[in-house]
């Protein structure tokens, strides 16, 4: 399985990765419809770390031994042995936030409105990794490893 990696020196801090991540996980996948009309406001599943001039995006590392899966009390998080992805099932999630406490990268995000967590799913079911393909300066790349 590969990983998305950031190149801090070429990141401009435009936050477009966050915007497009939110669009990728919206109902319509349409940037205007998603932000203007969807009932659930689209939320990004990655974060631009920022201490200007330093900026770089960070998302779930899909760890080999994921602490979030270890901590999950409801079986909502698991590592898929085939794809290597750490997968979250919102239907099974109770919002205990044990994963928020244990993710060493701080890459499990909280959807306060629904009391559940959201995380990067490597754009499962989509034809492209939205944060990577929409980065204007190629500061996010997908690397096989």
């Amino acid at each position: 399985m590969g990983r998305i990696k950031a190149k801090p020196e070429v990141c401009m801090g435009c936050h477009l990765c966050e915007v497009w991540c939110a669009v990728a996980h919206s109902k319509s996948k349409h940037i205007i419809k998603a932000f203007l009309y969807e009932e659930d406001k689209p939320l990004p599943r990655l974060l631009v770390e920022e201490k200007l001039p330093l900026t770089f995006a960070l998302q779930c590392r899909h760890c080999a031994e994921p602490d979030c899966v270890t901590a999950c009390i409801s079986g909502a998080l698991w590592k898929d042995p085939e794809s290597g992805r750490v997968i979250h099932d919102p239907n099974q999630c109770v919002g205990c936030y044990s994963c928020v406490l244990t993710c060493p990268y701080g890459n499990i995000f909280i959807n306060h409105r629904k009391r559940e967590i959201i995380k990067c799913d490597l754009c499962a079911g989509l034809d492209t990794l939205y944060c990577v393909s929409h980065c204007p300066n190629e500061a996010l790349v997908y690397e096989d490893c």
Binding site: R3, K5, A6, K7, P8, E9, V10, L47, E49, E50, K51, L54, T55, F56, L58, R61, D67, T70, A71, I73, S74, G75, P81, N91, Q92, V94, G95, C96, Y97, S98, C99, V100, L101, T102, C103, P104, Y105, G106, I108, F109, I110, V141
Partner: protein, 434 residues
């Protein structure tokens, strides 16, 4: 179906540690025979979800910790509704309550804990429950419809989760706590008071420095008299004062017990080939460097997983366990990990850094060692990215150079000094313009 006989791996118990063990060992050994002995007659469920179910947030099928076909897919023989009564380590055999005998190559004891009942007469009545098992859940559920007033004995994590669940079902809840504040051993006084405020606002009655003096009623509890003489009507009594390790199987064997079953970092007991994990065990706490009972879900799963690797011949160490809690009481989010210190200073060279923002209802506290390692922390209100603190704690990072930054609500890797930041993220970023 499963027949009695010999198994390469045998597990006693059916909760987090058991699932961790199976997932660990099956990632190494796909062919070895595996069996487990489960006392409760149902598929593996999460005890930690009991409050969510009783609070009406989830349905019964969501209680299952793994899909219904989990054991079939992992090719595990499940002896359900049976209790293991004896371990004969000389011949590597476990005896069940029906007299049958199971041979093992490697054995995991994951028997968990049993709820503690304080020595108060009358706690054996029909409408008294602990908050621990499926029978508890079913018993409490039956009582919910007719209950108007409930007493929860114990103001710790379990008691407060029970209190909130019952409150959500429209029941007047009375929480009794023997100590002078709620959650006393778990968090510091400031955090306790924030939780007490939240309960008070919600309308939960609290009685601190108090407990039950007398239980009234014949078959069922009808009311209780408290130590201070006060009388409370009681349709349902929950006992949530704590859980003790279940170590009966180790008694009378050469397996060492010190409150819990003592294990080394590989999760092996003092008897070769026998492992233990979870609430029944005394395991390594990386913050204190000592062995202690750490009865928390993540520790149980991880301990089981590490045991599973080692049972299957792959060396792994349990070096990530400590006390850690993610809690929420009436929408107050709290996370904590490591040592818990109340007051500004504590011996042992520990230093406390804290900040309470009464406007934002946020509170942060860090306990630092002499050399600047985080030994414990509490976050209330704003808990986003808390895992970064746990990571700094696990990696024994000296945080003194950036300790003020720890109090930023959006603290992240960007706030770390450059060299440290890129060291921690070396596999996650590409440095240099390429």
């Amino acid at each position: 179906m499963c027949n009695m006989g010999d198994f390469d791996y045998l597990i006693i118990g059916n909760s987090a540690g058991t699932v961790g063990c199976i997932e660990g060992l099956r990632s190494v050994d796909k062919n070895g025979t595996v069996a487990l002995v489960a006392e409760e007659d149902c598929h593996v469920y999460s005890r930690a979800l009991i409050p969510y179910y009783l609070g009406g947030q989830i349905t019964r099928d969501k209680m299952y910790y793994r899909p219904l076909d989990f054991y079939d897919r992992a090719r595990v023989c499940v002896f359900q509704g049976h209790q293991a009564v004896k371990i004969d380590s000389a011949v590597r055999v476990v005896e069940l309550d029906n007299g049958s005998r199971l041979g093992y190559g490697m054995l995991l004891i994951a028997t968990g804990g049993k709820p503690v009942f304080p020595p108060i007469p009358g706690l054996d009545k029909q409408n008294v429950f602990s908050f621990h098992s499926m029978p508890d859940l079913l018993g409490i559920e039956k009582e919910l419809a007719g209950a108007r007033s409930a007493v929860v004995l114990g103001g710790g994590v379990i008691g407060l989760m029970a209190a909130e669940a019952l409150h959500k079902r429209g029941i007047k809840v009375h929480v009794l706590e023997l100590a002078e504040r709620l959650l006393a051993p778990v968090v510091d006084a400031t955090t306790s008071h924030l939780v007490e405020d939240a309960l008070q606002k919600a309308g939960v009655a609290m009685y601190l420095n108090n407990t039950i003096d007398q239980v009234h009623g014949t078959e069922r509890v009808e009311s209780v008299t408290l130590k201070n003489g006060q009388n409370i009507p009681c349709d349902l009594l929950i006992v949530g004062v704590g859980v003790a390790p279940r170590v009966e199987l180790a008694e009378g064997t050469s397996i060492e017990v010190n409150r819990g079953i003592v294990v080394d970092k590989r999760m092996q007991t003092s008897v070769s080939g026998i492992f233990a994990c979870g609430d029944c065990a005394s395991t390594y706490n990386f913050v204190t460097g000592t062995e202690q009972n750490l009865p928390l879900w993540p520790n149980a799963y991880l301990g089981g997983r590490i045991a599973g690797f080692n049972m299957a011949g792959m060396e792994r160490s349990f070096i990530q366990g400590t006390t850690m809690n993610a809690m929420h009481f009436f929408d107050v989010n709290i996370v904590n990990a490591g040592v818990n210190v109340t007051g500004a200073n504590q011996g042992d060279g520990l230093e406390v850094k804290q900040n309470y923002d009464s406007d934002g209802q946020t509170y942060r506290k860090f306990v630092l060692s002499e050399n600047g390692h985080i030994k414990g922390f509490i976050l209330v209100g704003q808990i986003a990215r808390a895992g970064i603190f746990l990571n700094l704690m696990r990696r024994k990072i000296d945080v003194r150079a950036f300790q003020q930054e720890l109090f930023k609500n959006d603290f992240g890797y960007a706030d770390l000094p450059e060299i440290l930041r890129w060291k921690l993220l070396q596999d996650d970023v590409i440095l240099g313009v390429v």
